[in-house]
Amino acid sequence: MPSPRYWREIPARYRLEGGRCPACGKVTYPTRRVCPECRHEGMEAIALSRHGRVVTFTTIHVAPTEFQMEAPYPMAVVETPEGARLMVQVADCAPDDVKLGLEVALEFRRIQREGRSGILCYGHKAVPAR
């Protein structure tokens, strides 16, 4: 991920900031300029809860270069109590441990490194709730 793009996405990646439509209440992650539900322009920033449940998942066996040391690893769509849906890695468990409806916490983790000497990119991953 190029460093400037990573920097622009810090509010969403570090603090789970999403957007809520003031017209219809739709919550998106990350925020959008236009509500995908009612086309209202301008969404309010909200901080999502750092927990949710798995609504669908898969396992990555053939990983991109930056993630090869982690394969095979589960990816899941997690829904937070606000109704936002995030695509995240599921860490600290085997792929077989991930089930529909699994309660997860969203923990701050290193997502990837820009090679051996580039910047470190952080964000959130899901982990089974303790």
Partner: protein, 348 residues
């Protein structure tokens, strides 16, 4: 006087047992468990480092403090495993905690004492009136060379403390530091693993500094060991803190709550701060608590603390140390451990 208004800890879920490491190197696991008093240790995931541990511990501390993170005017992180050689851990942590840009940030390094060093400076900033709240964090993903005694102890975890002047969970009664130039343990620039002086790390280093700092703070405060409900000493292994405490006149019952090294390992800068968090998880109002850290090179920081009425009301806002030590764990083989700790050379 200022004190602690919030605290939190974080310990990764991965573990490796002492037997598994001993088996790899043909050592007698019974001798390790008896000599070093270490059953297992925490291991950082492939995606965990000092920054991620600091963020999770810091979030728990802010939850217990119940404050707006933007009121935190100073953030200090002590570690000997900052992920960058040049670029602060603290900037990432401040952004993630929602502290904003109106903050003074610094990364500290003083071997295993860097955590209490960060706490000491955060406390001083609040006492001086330069910030309403300040956070000090001790966190590490400790390095230990393969087939070295350190490999049985070097682990991952940390704790964060928010200092303020009102609504204290813990009063800071006094602090004291004892420092000398003692080359007992070091890591030169560019080296991956630390080196140490073997038995020289004991009497002239750990024991001299821990006992000198503790005796001095007892003299300053007019307190004696029997006055304390809890005592926490830096935990490079299981044996040293119990021996130092005994030499100082503390009983095992005063030390066992904060003595978490047997299943956590030595989290270096996070060691005594996480032991203190385990004590705060159970301490009652008016309990006196002693914490003495140790950092090679070498120095000890001592704090005398007194729990307030507010502490029991706030502790349930975040996970306890014991819930993380005794909760869900993943046990690794030595091969998995070597992969997670990047001890295996692979192509780019």
């Amino acid at each position: 006087m200022a004190g602690i208004v919030g605290y939190g800890a974080f310990i990764p879920r991965n573990r490796i047992k002492s037997e598994e490491i001993a088996r790899q190197w043909g050592k007698d696991p019974a001798a390790i468990k008896r000599g070093l008093m270490l059953q297992e240790k925490s291991v950082p995931g492939i995606d965990e480092d000092t920054i991620t541990i600091s963020v999770e511990a810091g979030r728990a501390a802010i939850e217990r403090a119940g404050i707006d993170p933007q009121l935190i005017g100073a953030l200090y992180i002590g570690s000997e495993s900052h992920p960058y050689a040049v670029k602060p851990s603290g900037t990432v942590v401040a952004e993630a905690l929602g502290i904003g840009t109106d903050v003074h940030v610094a990364d500290f390094e003083f071997a295993c004492k860097a955590g209490t060093e960060a706490m000491f400076v955060a406390l001083s900033i609040v006492e001086s009136g330069r910030a309403k709240f300040a956070m000090g964090i001790g966190a590490d993903t400790s390095q230990g060379a393969p087939n070295d005694a350190l490999e049985f102890s070097a682990s991952a975890g940390g704790a964060a403390y928010v200092f303020g002047k009102d609504h204290l969970l813990v009063d800071v009664v006094d602090t004291y530091s004892f420092t000398s130039d003692t080359p007992d343990f070091w890591r030169r620039e560019g080296e991956f693993y630390p080196r140490h002086g073997g038995r020289f790390t004991g009497e002239p280093a750990y024991f001299r500094h821990v006992t000198s700092a503790t005796r001095a703070i007892l003299e300053r405060t007019g307190l004696k060991p029997a006055d304390f409900r809890y005592a926490v000493f830096h935990m490079p292994n299981g044996k040293f803190p119990l021996a130092a405490g005994k030499e100082l006149g503390f009983k095992k019952e005063q030390m066992e709550t904060g003595w978490i090294v047997n299943t956590m390992g030595n989290t270096y800068s996070g060691s005594s701060p996480t032991g203190l968090a385990a004590v705060l998880d159970v301490a009652a109002p008016d309990d006196l608590i002693l914490i003495t850290s140790f950092g090679s090179g070498a120095a000890s920081d001592s704090f005398v603390l007194r729990a307030t009425e507010l502490l029991p009301q706030r502790r349930d806002r975040a996970p306890t140390v014991r819930s993380m030590l005794d909760g869900p764990r993943r046990y690794l083989t030595y091969g998995e451990y070597a992969k997670y700790r990047e001890k295996i050379i692979v192509n780019d």
